[in-house]
Symmetry: C2
Subunit: 157 residues, 2 copies
DNA sequence: GCAGATCTACTCGGATAGGTGGTGTCCGAGTGCCTTGGG
DNA sequence: CCCAAGGCACTCGGACACCACCTATCCGAGTAGATCTGC
């Protein structure tokens, strides 16, 4: 079980966008400097979020990224699965039906008990993340943080 | 989020050992043939389980692996974390304190809200896996399965 | 027949190469803003 | 002074190398059991 490091980047980017007025757009370069991460790769990950429908992108001057929905309707799970792919980390390859000890198909009508257990755990993980929205995250921050974020990410001109 | 494929191997191996009399030992070669997986690499993973205290290994003829504790006291989480390392998949690198938008340390006395959310989800995942023991897994299998397992993994001689 | 030492064969454990996916970087296509010229 | 067309600078999106981790494999150290010999 291991999440890409870029997952943290996009989570913080999404949280930062949630602290701004909904219509504001921020470019990749601004976000990259704000967090001290390489800009081109960050752009790649943000593109994944756009494809997943979490962010919206605008081109041209004063273009950039903004949230595709109100922050209340974007969960942490949406962001994480957008960058990670959302596939179950445990892939059951029906090991019980392979090798010398292969069980006949007649005894495998029910899903593998191990796979079911792993699946249930993954569902619990997803439910835990789906219960927290970006608005909830912003709500827990002390008031100074969003204020500075708004000031630093305000577009020059 | 992605688990190694070998995780499934060791889970099935541990489940198979749980179906045998507690004192029986099974060698790597037998388990590898039983499941149709490469033997040397499987040995490496089983060694991880030994280091984690889940399995016990015996050398010499009629040596091999057996459960280190009764199956009721070994949870699926024990096996998964033994092979995976048990580190939190989300590593908070305090991104909020880096880059141009770095927050002063005085405002970072509380843990990052994102990290706390991810941590809570990971805890939910762990709790879900810790609630299922190997004995529970064996209990859900139809009676024919453990019977065949015992017959096929019985040691020649 | 029995005990002891030896010998063998089987076991695990760590050190060693190769492939796949995340990490980091670059350049091109597209678009909205600003400028500038004319009416 | 107002409007429209052109240029331009800035933006995202996809294609290209690099590195770490998982996968796969080998050989060596150690030990329990079986054997063989002597009493």
């Amino acid at each position: 079980v291991k999440l890409p490091e870029s997952c943290e980047w996009v989570l913080h980017c999404a949280a930062a966008l949630a602290q701004l007025p909904a219509a504001d757009t921020v470019s990749t370069g601004q976000l990259a400097e704000h967090f001290g991460v390489p800009a081109p790769y960050l752009a790649k990950q943000l593109a994944h979020l756009v494809r997943a429908g979490v962010l919206a992108a605008s081109t041209g001057p004063r273009g950039g990224f903004r949230l595709a929905r109100p922050a209340e309707r974007i969960t942490v799970l949406d962001v994480v699965e957008a960058v990670d792919g959302g596939t179950d980390p445990y892939q059951c390859r029906e090991l019980r039906q392979q090798g010398r000890g292969a069980a006949p198909a007649a005894e495998c009508t029910e899903p593998c008990a191990l796979a079911a257990t792993m699946r249930a755990a993954h569902d619990a993980w997803r439910a835990s993340l789906a219960a927290v929205s970006l608005a909830d995250i912003v709500g827990t921050l002390p008031a100074e943080i969003p204020e500075r974020t708004r000031r630093l990410l305000a577009r020059p001109r």
